[in-house]
Amino acid sequence: MKQKRDRLEIFHDMLVAINDKNGRIKPTHLMYKSNLSHNMLNEYVMELIKRKFVEEIETPNGKSYRITKAGLEYIEKYSSIIKFVDSFGLEDEE
């Protein structure tokens, strides 16, 4: 059985989902793509905005999230970061 995802992995999945949609995604799509509940999505989106990985934008069709340069850098370095965090036992407790 696959292990529970930790925060860093969820951030990565969300950012990849946004990036795959040309860097911009609607909240509903993001919720399905990243396999999160509505409450969890809000919590993680707030965290992504706080870390400046995404920004919220208003479009004529409603609210969307756009990936930032910092978010793209996170995707790029994710593999090394996760290896570092795992090997030094720094992962978050679920």
Partner: protein, 215 residues
């Protein structure tokens, strides 16, 4: 503050300085990597981890600089020797214990900050006021490293990857080296053995760091 001074065998002093400089380089590399990853991920734990390894690096930098100073000073008076010894001991105690305590804080996932602050105060007061500072320092380091080794063993059991095993063995060797240093007061050769154990430990940390950047 009453202190106990001990010295490595004369033939080992140069090698010891090189070892300590190498240990510092490995620790700085890990500290910088952790900080860079913190800048990218904004994961607070990485910032603290960077500070912990930076503190451990400072311990070795100060130790090797003072040893080098002792070696190159021609007219070394007893007073200067005592001053330098005192400074080395304070650096030992402060930076090494600070680094280990931060690592322990991260690994134990402490919820009660007041309790943890109390433990820190007890550790520093004991180490600084003890009559036999060096031995007490190594005893306290050994205790802290025992808890850290246990954490990294559990981490390896949870995720049995090669890198986790490398880090666990590295901490276990640091624990053995500190255990060895407790008794080095009685035999200078144990001081040398301790440094070689530390060398293998830091080599493993370096291997882990290289593995992290491998594609």
């Amino acid at each position: 503050m009453a202190v106990t001074y001990y010295f490595a065998p004369p033939w080992f002093i140069n090698i010891g300085i090189i070892f300590e400089a190498l240990f510092a380089i490995v620790l700085i590399a890990i500290s910088i990597t952790a900080y860079k990853f913190y800048r990218v991920s904004r994961q607070e734990k990485l910032k603290l981890f960077s500070a912990a390894f930076g503190s451990l690096a400072l311990y070795y930098i100060i130790k090797s600089l003072i040893n080098a100073d002792l070696l190159t000073s021609n007219n070394l008076t007893r007073d200067k020797l005592l001053d330098l010894g005192q400074l080395t001991l304070v650096a030992h105690i402060f930076f090494m214990l600070a680094g280990l305590i931060i690592l322990l804080y991260l690994s134990l996932k402490v919820k009660n900050n007041r309790l943890f602050s109390l433990l820190i105060i007890i550790i520093f007061v004991t180490a600084f006021t003890s009559r036999n500072n060096v031995i007490i320092f190594h005893v306290i380091s050994t205790i802290l490293l025992s808890f850290l080794s246990l954490h990294y063993y559990e981490s390896y059991k949870k995720k049995p990857h090669k890198n986790n095993l490398i880090v666990f063995i590295a901490f276990l060797l640091l624990l053995l080296a500190n255990l060895d240093f407790i008794f080095s007061y009685y035999s200078p050769i144990l001081f040398v053995i301790g440094h070689f154990i530390e060398f293998i430990s830091y080599l493993l940390f370096l291997i882990n760091l290289i593995n992290i950047f491998k594609k």
